[in-house]
Amino acid sequence: MPVEAHIKERPAYFHRFDAVWTPTVLVLDPDGTERLRIEGYLPKDEFRAQLEMGLARVAFMRKRWADAEQRYAAVVERYPDSKVAPEAVYWRGVSRYKATNDHTALGDVPGQLEEKYADSVWALKALPWSH
């Protein structure tokens, strides 16, 4: 559900949602809790990838683990070269672990990150899960 807040027409919304720069895009969950904030311009595919990360986060925070895993997997598949792809690999693994309570779901993640995103901070974060 999209809401447009132009600085000249809805200045109060900037204060209400702590928007201090434009463009700013928020993804809120159905209860109005912020789950993603994008500040500044992004190229089209990077923007789409980040938006989908926001929707995946909404699903994750609502404990819809299968939906979240599917959404993170879609980011990895559709936007493998985006800046958020390694983060999506990480959270895809976490979502699977949450869904199954099987810790081996995390064991594959370091290798997946090392293979394509070795320089990302998410590869470092997944290191403790290495076999």
Partner: protein, 32 residues
């Protein structure tokens, strides 16, 4: 497909809650 933008955040928040759908809010200063 054209996006149907809402400019009333409170109405959109109420609808999001009722329909259990997430909300996207776009803050802009671009010329109309």
């Amino acid at each position: 497909m054209a996006v149907q933008w809402n400019t009333d955040a409170d109405a959109a928040l109420a609808e999001a809650k009722a329909t259990k759908k997430p909300l996207l809010v776009d803050f802009s200063a671009a010329p109309a």
